[in-house]
Structures are given as C-alpha cells and as structure tokens.
C-alpha cells in the first residue's frame, strides 16, 4: 500500500460518503466537499514531477490475486503521471465548474458526484496501473461510469440511447482488449506491462502477435473514438457539459491514446503497428474535421472536433513508433520520436483548449438555453469574458499563434513530413499522402474553429429565438475555463516548462530508446521559414476563403450517400440484430412441445448415431446367448401386438388397456427372466397405473383417431425420428451385449445371506447394500404423494391476487 494507491482509491472511497454528505448538508452544494479530492490528488502527484524530470520512476505493489499474477501494481512514470495530473487537474476545474452548472435544488447531485468520483478513480487507475488485468478493470470502470454519466438525465430518451451506445462500443473494445491481454499473457507469461515490454522481441515474433495487436488496438480505438468507432462520441454529448468537458474531451477518450502510447514499446517498430495506428488516426482526423463543419449543435461540433484531434494525436503516435525500428543512437530515433513529442504535446494542449471550449459552450447553453448555432449569434457584447475564452480556445484549436495549439500543430506538420520521407515500411510509395491529408484536415479544423466563434458570438443577436435572456455567467463558472485559457497562452510562451517536466519524461516512456535524445532540445514557436510555416499560412488562407464561401458549398454535405452515415449502421445493426434474433427464436421456439422433443431426438440420433457409425464397427454377437423358447416368442408377439395397438388405436380406453397389457407382458418377461420381485412389483404397479389413467382420463374428450380429418394422422416424420431412436437403442444394445470384458460386481451379492442376513439378494441390495437408493425412492414417492395432493387441492387461479408470477 502506498500513497499512490491511496490516491487511486481515494475517489472511490470518497464516493461512498457522497450520498451521506448530500443528505447531511442539504444547504451546501455537494461539489464543495468533492472538490477536496482532485485537489489533494493533484497536489500529491505533483510532488513526483521533480523525480520524473530526473528520469526516475516509482513502483508500488499491493497483492490482489497473486495466485493468478494479478496484483494492484502502480507504476509512476512520465506517461502515467502526466495523464494522472491532467485527470486530477482538469477534474478539479470541472468540479468547480459543475458547482455552478448544476443546480443544487433540482439535480440529484449525489448521483452525479458519485459517478464522477468513480470515473476519476477509474481513470487514475487506468493510467497508473502496471498490471494489465487491473488496467482492464479500471478501463471497464471508466466505460461504466461514462455510461452512467451520459445518462445522468435518464428521463431523456436520447441520453439513454447515447449511454447505451457508448457502453456497447467501449465495452466491445474492452472485451477485445481483454482477449489481447490474455494472448499477451500466454506469450510472455506475465500481466505486468513493464515485463511485457521487456519481452517485446518474443511478442513480436509470436504467431499471435498480429491478433493480439489488432485486438488491443480495437480497445484503444473504440475508447478514443477512432474511425469507425467514433459514432458513440457525438451521442455522448447528451451528458451534462462538465462531463463532456471532462470525460469526452480531456480524459476518458484519451485512455485509448494512453493505451497505444503505453504499448508502443511493446508493439511499435513493426510495420503493422505503424500503418494501422497512423492511418486510422489520419482518417479519423480528416473524417472528424469534415463532419465537424456541418454540425449545427455546438457540442456536436466540439465532439467531432475532438474526434478529429484524437485522430491527430493517434496518427502522431503511429508515425513516432517508427523510431523504435531503429537502434538507439540512430538518427532515425530522434527524427521520428519527434512525432511522439508532438503527440504528447498536442495531447496536453488539446486538454487545455478543448476543456475551456467545452466549458464556454456549457456557459452559452446554460445562459441562453440552447446550443443551436442557428439560434445563437451576437453574444460577444453580452458575454465578453466567454467570448474571449472562446477565441483563445478556438484559435489554439485552429493552430494559430500565440496559442499553444500553434506549436503542436507545427510539430505535427514536421512529424508528417518526416514520416513521408521514411524509407521503411513501404513508406516510399505512399508516404506522400500523409502531409497532404494532414493539411486538408487542418484546413477544415481552421474552418470549424472559426465557425464556432463566429456563429456564436458574432453575427446577429436573436433574443427572440433563445429560451432565456442571455447574460454573462457567474464568476465561479468562468474561473475554470479562464484557468485553462491562461494555460493555453502560458504554454505558448513557456513551452519548455511543460517540455522538461512533462513531455520529455513522457517520450522517454513511450520510446525508451529516445530517453536521452531530447535532453538538449528546446521547444520554441519559431523555427524560421520552414515548410511547416508555409503550410500553416496556406491553411489560414484557404481556410478563410472557404469560410467566406461557406454557404455555397455546405450543401454538398446533403449529398453524402446514406451509407456513409455510420450512425445508421449502428442503429440498423442493433435493431437488425434484435429482429434477426427474434426471427431465429420464433422460427424454432414454437411453443409446441412436439417440436422440442423432435429437436432433442434428432440431436440424439445425429450425435450418438454419428459417433456409433464413426467409432464402432457393428458385429452381431451370437455367442453365449440365452436360449429362446416358443413361449417367449408368443409373449414377444403379444408385446408387439399391444404396442402396435397403443399406437394405432383411436380409442382412449383401448390405448390405456393396451398399455396395461404391455405392462403385464413385461411382468411376464420379468418372470421368465428370473426376476420374481420385479414381476410382483410390476404387476401391482401396472394395475394401479392403469386405474389412475382411467380415473384421470375418463372425462377427457375422445381421443382423436387417425381417420378423423383433424385428428392425429399418422405422422411419417415423427415415426421416422422415433424409429431412429428405437433403432439406435437396439443397435447399441446389441453391441453392448457382445461386450463382456468385466465380471459384474453383483457376484459379491451372492453371499448376501452371510453379509446382510437376507437370502433374497435383490431385497438385500434394496434394503442394505443400496439401501440409500431405496430410501431416496420413498422420498420420491413421498414427494409425488404430497405433490399430487397439493396439485389437486391448491388452486390459485381462481383467487387472482398479486402473485408476481403472472
């Protein structure tokens, strides 16, 4: 147990007390109590920063299931710690923000904060765990808490839908990841990520490498909303805005990024990893930015922009993984690790500007009652602070100076250019695509950033279309985005503070071979007139032109073919699955017991018959058989006759009597076969049974014979199945009769007189050797007796009542 463990568990533990606090202090907004937690965690974790800057790491372990090599191990290194700081830092801001956003009077605050704390703990767990199973545990917990938070307003149908969608997709990824973890474990024999990384060579050479990698990436891509799994993120915007800001832009969606970064040392350096991560990222980048432009809901726009930005970071990680291909010290390492540096830098920057943008949008929503850009406009004068913050955020997103987004965007271009020049992984042929795609995506990023500011704060003010009278938000709501806005600027001007304390340790974790290469490197926003700068200028120029002509070409989106709306795929897929399943079920679960029996018999015939024919060769054994006398043949004929009669007769009585006769003949067979006890019992039982049949069935309608139209026709299908079962039984019986390897144990009972004091062996077995069977047999009789009594006497149907069985 260490303090770091405590930090992870603290939010979870605290969650237990939230409902109590909520009840105990109805006057104080519960958020104030909650605020303590992230602040504490941030404060404590920040003390590890110096250690990181010196290149150190820390490990603490609590045994959980050591038997299965599952331990709660936390591993503090650059990657994990910076993520944890983002989580707790932005967490604190979000809590402050939520205190003003969520009304104390109307909302179920305890639920909200419980989920939030659950999420925070889970997220910290994800980024700090070293054990993959524990990582998976927290991973699923983030999906679950996100599910709960999205559906915080569970009365809304859209919220429920969004929550379900998010959960299904992320849990699908989680399961894939679990499979991958298990494969990795089977290859390396460990659940510890550090040890897996140490055995990277083994992993990469194994047959299961590709499936394990794909499944792992599936987990990461679903969580980080990469194409085509991004569809859950726009629907997740049904969550309260603080949640969107926190989970769906700053933290949870970055868990996938984290995962890719974390496993880069293990899987990276292979062409498959490079290609998949890079191109899925790039495609997501462009897909997201293209779609963001057409959105009319502010949050939807932000959602697609988040998707796009996540794609950007993902692709950078992919490009950077090429560094692992080279040996430490090669020039390629630094060249390509630069992309990773850009990735983590943009990751941090994205958290700041996107967080503040979400909060601003939340403010707009909160104060005007709508997020629809068609209704908004001209809020600049009414909400000046918000406007300023929005401008800072948007321009940073668009990649303009003097904001931190500019630096990381420039680094992104550098990364794409260096990736394009790569001469491994077949990049020489396709590499040129990368910078082109990146540039186009940046243009659209620029456009939607402008749209965001312009449509909301500039243009015409339309008070009549707003639900509320707009005014500036309270101070408390403005503080968190202001802090983030301040950071956006601060990072631009002092990038190396972040660089030394955060980025370099992170890169060291992701590309261990690049541990020292950036030591002397300083990030700066000015590199001179390099291609990157021209690319940016072109982005601005083209972007402005396109924005000015927006109304001319925005209609193009309406011509998007239906199949490209992936949302429909999900919807139709889900309902299709349900309908298809229903069809399958309806088709065979007919409710007719006859059908069920038919399936059962056919299964038996196929499987047992099949194995009989495949596994045994039939021979008819004729040795050591008991003799047959004429008399027995006559009995057999009687038996046959009465059997046929049971099947053939249309009279119920005849059927019953025939069965009775059958029973008697069986008793006679028992006599012939030297079983007097059986014969007696069989005779008695048969008589009672026949009497019972008649007693019960005297009043039933006439048994329909086969000659009647609707009656029981002779069903040839049924008969064939029945014949199949019968023949199977006979065949097996014949084979079994020839199988005489062992002496039956019953020889022992020959001494029953001496052993049990009974001359009748059967009785000795019944009462003594296997007395327990007999004892249970009378229990069965007892149950049947009481059961019949209860069945006849107890009739709840007439009474109606509130039995939950109906």
């Amino acid at each position: 147990m260490s303090w770091v463990h405590l930090m992870i568990v603290l939010p979870l533990l605290f969650a237990v007390f939230i409902p109590l606090l909520y009840k105990a202090f109805p006057r104080i907004h519960t958020g104030w109590f909650v605020l303590v937690v992230p602040v504490l965690i941030f404060g404590y974790l920040a003390t590890y920063l110096p250690m990181l800057a010196n290149g150190g790491t820390a490990i603490y372990e609590i045994p959980w299931i050591p038997y299965l090599d599952i331990n709660f191990t936390v591993f503090v290194d650059g990657l994990g710690l910076i993520f944890a700081l983002i989580i707790s830092g932005i967490g604190a801001l979000v809590v402050i923000y939520s205190i003003y956003y969520l009304s104390k009077a109307r909302e179920a605050l305890h639920n909200f904060y419980v989920y939030l704390m659950m999420f925070m703990g889970a997220m910290l767990g994800v980024v700090l765990s070293d054990n993959m199973i524990v990582l998976y545990l927290f991973w699923e917990l983030t999906s679950i808490s996100s599910f709960l938070l999205i559906a915080y307003w569970y009365q809304r149908k859209q919220s429920r839908f969004g929550a379900q969608k998010a959960m299904l997709i992320t849990v699908l990824g989680g399961f894939a990841m679990l499979a991958s973890i298990i494969m990795i474990h089977n290859i390396t024999g460990t659940f510890s990520i550090r040890e897996v990384i140490a055995q990277s060579d083994l992993l990469v050479q194994h047959d299961l490498f590709l499936p394990a990698m794909l499944l792992l990436l599936l987990g990461a891509f679903t969580k980080s909303a990469q194409f085509p799994f991004h569809i859950w993120l726009p629907d997740a915007m049904e969550a309260p805005t603080p949640i969107s800001a926190y989970l769906h832009s700053a933290t949870m969606v970055k868990a996938g990024i984290y995962l890719v970064a974390r496993f880069t040392p293990a899987f990276g350096g292979t062409p498959e990893w490079f290609w998949i991560v890079t191109f899925v990222g790039l495609f997501t980048l462009i897909w997201g930015s293209l779609n963001a432009v057409k959105q009319r809901d502010l949050k939807a726009l932000l959602a697609f922009s988040t998707i796009s930005q996540l794609g950007l970071i993902m692709s950078l990680l992919g490009m950077g993984s090429a560094a692992l291909y080279f040996n430490p010290g090669d020039q390629g390492v630094q060249l390509h690790a630069y992309a990773v540096l850009a990735a983590v830098f943009h990751l941090i920057n994205h958290s700041t500007f996107k967080g503040s943008l979400f909060m601003v949008v939340g403010i707009v929503d909160h104060e005007t009652g709508t997020r629809d850009m068609r209704k908004l406009g001209g809020l600049m004068t009414i909400m000046p602070v918000s406007f300023t913050l929005a401008v800072i955020g948007s321009l940073s997103m668009a990649g303009l100076p003097p904001f931190n987004g500019f630096i990381s965007k420039e680094m992104f271009f550098t990364g794409t250019l260096s990736a394009a020049s790569l001469d491994i992984f077949n990049m020489s042929t396709y590499g040129a695509i990368i910078p082109v795609v990146a540039w186009i995506a940046s243009v659209f990023t620029f456009i939607y950033s402008i749209i965001l500011v312009y449509k909301t704060f500039l243009g015409k003010y339309q008070p009549e279309r707003l639900e509320k009278k707009a005014h500036e938000a309270p101070l408390g709501m403005l503080i968190p985005p202001s802090i983030l806005g301040f950071l956006v600027l601060a990072i631009f001007f002092f990038p190396n503070v972040v660089g030394d304390y955060a980025l370099k340790p992170m890169v060291a974790s992701i590309i261990p071979s690049a541990a020292g290469v950036f030591d002397d490197y300083a990030i700066s926003w000015w590199h001179g007139f390099e291609p990157e700068l021209f690319m940016t200028m072109a982005v601005v120029a083209v972007g402005l032109i396109l924005f000015a002509t927006l109304n001319r070409w925005i209609g193009l989106y309406n011509h998007m073919p239906q199949w490209m709306h992936l949302n429909n795929w999900f919807k139709h897929g889900l309902s299709g699955m349900e309908r298809g399943s229903h069809k399958v079920i309806d088709w065979h679960m007919t409710g007719y017991i006859r059908d069920y029996l038919m399936y059962i018999f056919i299964t038996i015939i196929l499987i047992v018959g099949g194995s009989y024919f495949l596994l045994t060769d039939f021979t008819l054994y004729t040795e050591n058989l008991a003799s047959i006398s004429l008399f027995e043949i006559v009995l057999a004929l009687v038996l046959l006759g009465s059997t046929v009669l049971v099947m053939a007769t249309r009279s119920r009585l005849t059927a019953v009597v025939s069965v009775g006769v059958l029973g008697y003949v069986v008793a006679l067979f028992f006599i012939i076969l030297r079983a007097p006890d059986l014969a007696l019992t069989q005779l008695a039982i048969e008589t009672v049974s026949v009497a019972l049949y008649l007693l019960c069935f005297y009043h039933l309608p006439k048994l329909k014979g086969r000659s009647e139209e609707e009656g029981e026709k002779f069903k040839i299908g049924n008969f064939i199945v029945a014949l199949g079962i019968g023949s199977l039984v006979t065949l097996l019986a014949l084979s079994v009769n020839g199988y005489n390897l062992f002496e039956p144990i019953s020889v022992y009972y020959g001494d029953s007189y001496d052993l049990a004091g009974a001359a009748n062996m059967v009785n000795a077995i019944l009462a003594d050797f296997r007395g327990f069977d007999t004892f249970l047999e009378i229990v069965v009789v007892a149950i049947a007796g009481l059961g019949v009594y209860a069945l006849v006497r107890l009739r709840l149907e007439k009474r109606g009542g509130t039995d939950e069985s109906q």
Binding site: F631, V657, L668, I671, Y698
Partner: protein
C-alpha cells in the same frame, strides 16, 4: 414329456389371453372389455402357476395371489366406475 405338456399348456393359455385381448380391443361395450380383462387376469394366474411348475420354482407363487387380488380390485373399480361414474365415492347415496 411332462415339460412338453407344460410348455404346450403355457402356449395354450397364452393363446387364451390373446383371444381375450381381441375382446378387449373389439368391445363393443365397456363391460365387455372388463370381462375380458378379468379373464386375462385369471388366465395370467394359471399361466404363472404352470410356469412355476415348469421352472420347478416356488419363487413365483406370490404372484398368483397378487394377481388374484389385483384382478379383483381392478374389476370392482371398473364396474363401479361404469355404473356410477366414480370409483371411490365421497359418500354413499
């Protein structure tokens, strides 16, 4: 010789049972069937008696009385059932 006689007897009794079965099947009325059943029961007794002689075994003698009892009770139950619709009455009328 003795065994042959017994065997033939067994066959003949079986035949008698078959004949009675025909009556059970044919009917036409319920009482006809019951009579046939009763005679099957009785023939069965004879069958078992002969069989135990044939087997030289007294192990089956219980079956004789048992069958007698069952046949009797069965017949009574059936006849009451036909006559009154119930075999066991709640209260005599």
């Amino acid at each position: 010789m003795f065994d042959l006689i017994l065997l033939i007897s067994l066959l003949l009794i079986s035949f008698a049972i078959l004949v009675a079965l025909y009556r059970v099947y044919k009917g036409p009325s319920m009482p006809d069937r019951i009579i046939a059943l009763d005679s099957i029961g009785i023939n069965l007794i004879a069958l078992i008696a002969v069989f135990s002689i044939y087997m030289r075994s007294t192990a089956y003698l219980e079956a004789i009385l048992l069958l007698g009892i069952l046949a009797f009770i069965g017949t009574i139950a059936f006849s009451k059932f036909i006559e009154r619709g119930v075999a066991i009455e709640r209260k005599h009328d």
